[in-house]
Symmetry: C2
Subunit: 354 residues, 2 copies
């Protein structure tokens, strides 16, 4: 079966631009899939905000992300945007949805098959929708993040654009005694400021280890920031707001390790792959997908609590930056991801042919 | 054309049960339409919460109203409920939607014609959806509540079940000097506690006229209640919470007038018809649909400000309770409403036949 003559619609969320300027994991992955498919000769239409940047054909009815323009009503934007792709369903051989349970509710009204990449289950309240449409086509982004009973065709790990995250330079002040060849002494936290992401645990680790910590990300839980982050900010522990790609690379440059001490099972953890791509070791809580993304002792360390994280920091010098990047190239690149999705698309086209 | 063999789906909201126990104008009207159609021999399926009460066939995927059961996620309930009727579209000759802009986003995915009764434009933000689907079939609930450019087939006034609101008894203490034959001396406010509904103006009128005021309804704007209602509550001005039908009739019994001093254009004002049905005169702000529902000097008075409202209260004795009820019977009964909708349905079936 030739695939390249198939027309694919990629439905990205409209919370942020695709790709997002700063935060926005779902839009990042949807955008990477569209780019990767274009590179491999597919006829791709990206349904995303009007200010999105893509080599695919862009189809948009919502000008800007509703998180970036408060004049836009999220509910209105979602109904207009999602229904738009389904109204054009006949123009496509496949709709690849990244729009959660809402898009599922339109799938039985069109003949075009719909593949849904589930980027996470935001709440138990949404499960009845997945259960109703469980016979659809689903992809999980890690083996850990699966719900029972859904028709999963595969796990496809998220892929990042490695050109955006080059291996960081050799350190000027080579830390011989630590055996570190790149990076500096700073710890970094990258992610939403939310209890799920364990910012408070990263702060605890920084204090116990005596290393400085840079905290970057959007403040999603204001009370949590006010009560459990802000009081600890000082010369050593800094909050620097959300960062874009250059900002991330700057952090990676001086980092000893990325701390990712999530308190609930991680679904994938895009930032783990980004840090590894730059050669930064990751100290991650062994919850959810982290052990699928990080190879313990090779690209970072999996820990179960704060003392273990402090201990792991003593050993991050053992991690080879080149090994970190090689693993991302092999497992979490756009090319790897898109090849995996091509296999999934092929499965769908074969099933639909009956 | 015979109509009675046509199958109609009535899509009610799922914020509340249909009919609602207390507050819930949209569910009230959707329920009344379903009942009225059944009475006239139609094959009707009501899509509503599972605990709804109807003589139509009930189809439900959401057990209870999301406003009545906080365990239900409103967004999940809406997507599941609305998509359900469209997934069953082929079983119906017409879908009559009372579900605002959200249901419009499914209409182009089915062949069954969809009539939308617009119960109100909640925000300018939703207008892009109506503009996109402006060539659909629309009914306005008053001439005042129309948006430009939409394909309106008619204005159909809301109809109430007159058997629920009997003409109140003759007053024991007949107020000869005021010429009043029924009711008492109390003023009543019935509606959402929200600045749009002008509860603060009703309070001002009560104070200036020296008459007691009973305020009934759900508190939709808590800050407004706390700041502009609660401080004025005393022996004369009471807040009694939301009321059901018997509760309303009890209020009507002792009422001199219903005060409806809305601060934005009223869309219809179901409670005006309910009060009039019971024989209670209405003093209403001359904004939006009020002059379509209230006949000035016959079933109440239209006013432009608080002093005019106080003045109108001196004249409510001139209003004949029987005239109030007769007008509701003629213009705002279920039968009148359903006959009007039958004419609209006929227009749609004729247009679709081409």
């Amino acid at each position: 079966m030739t695939l390249a003559n198939k027309r694919v619609a990629v439905l990205s969320p409209v919370a942020w631009r695709t790709p997002p300027r700063q935060y926005g994991a779902w839009e990042t992955v949807a955008g990477n899939i569209a780019e990767g498919l274009v590179s491999r000769g597919w006829d791709v239409t990206l349904f995303a905000t009007g200010d999105s940047v893509t080599r695919a054909q862009l189809h948009s009815v919502v000008d800007r992300g509703y998180e970036e323009d408060r004049a836009i009503d999220p509910k209105v934007a979602e109904y207009l945007h999602i229904s738009e792709v389904f109204e054009h369903a006949a123009e496509f051989d496949l709709i690849h949805s990244h729009y959660d349970f809402m898009a599922l509710s339109y799938t039985r009204l069109v003949k075009t098959p719909v593949l849904t990449t589930i980027h996470g289950f935001s709440s138990p309240a949404i499960m009845p929708v997945y259960q109703k449409y469980r016979d659809g086509y689903f992809v999980s982004i890690s083996n850990a993040d699966r719900a029972p009973g859904l028709n999963y065709l595969a796990t496809v790990y998220n892929g990042i654009d490695l050109s955006l995250y080059p291996l960081r330079a050799q350190s000027q002040e080579r830390g011989q005694e630590r055996g570190q060849e790149r990076g500096g002494d700073r710890l970094i936290f990258l992610g939403r400021i939310h209890p799920d992401k364990g910012v408070h645990l990263a702060i605890e680790v920084a204090r116990l280890s005596g290393l400085p910590l840079d905290i970057a990300g959007i403040i999603q839980d204001k009370a949590y920031f006010r009560e459990q982050v802000e009081p600890h900010l000082d010369r050593n522990i800094r909050y620097i707001g959300p960062v874009d790609v250059p900002g991330k690379n700057q952090l990676f440059e001086g980092a000893r390790a990325l701390l990712h001490l999530n308190t609930i099972p991680e679904r994938f953890g895009l930032v783990l792959a980004e840090a590894n791509a730059a050669g930064v070791p990751v100290v991650a809580m062994d919850l959810g997908s982290c052990r699928e993304v990080i190879e313990d002792g090779e690209t970072g360390f999996l820990v179960n609590n704060v003392p273990e994280a402090v201990g792991a920091l003593e050993r991050v010098g053992e991690i080879d930056s080149n090994a970190c990047r090689r693993r991302v190239q092999a497992c979490f690149s756009i090319e790897t991801m898109v090849e995996a999705y091509e296999r999934v698309y092929r499965m769908i086209f074969e099933q639909e042919a009956f």
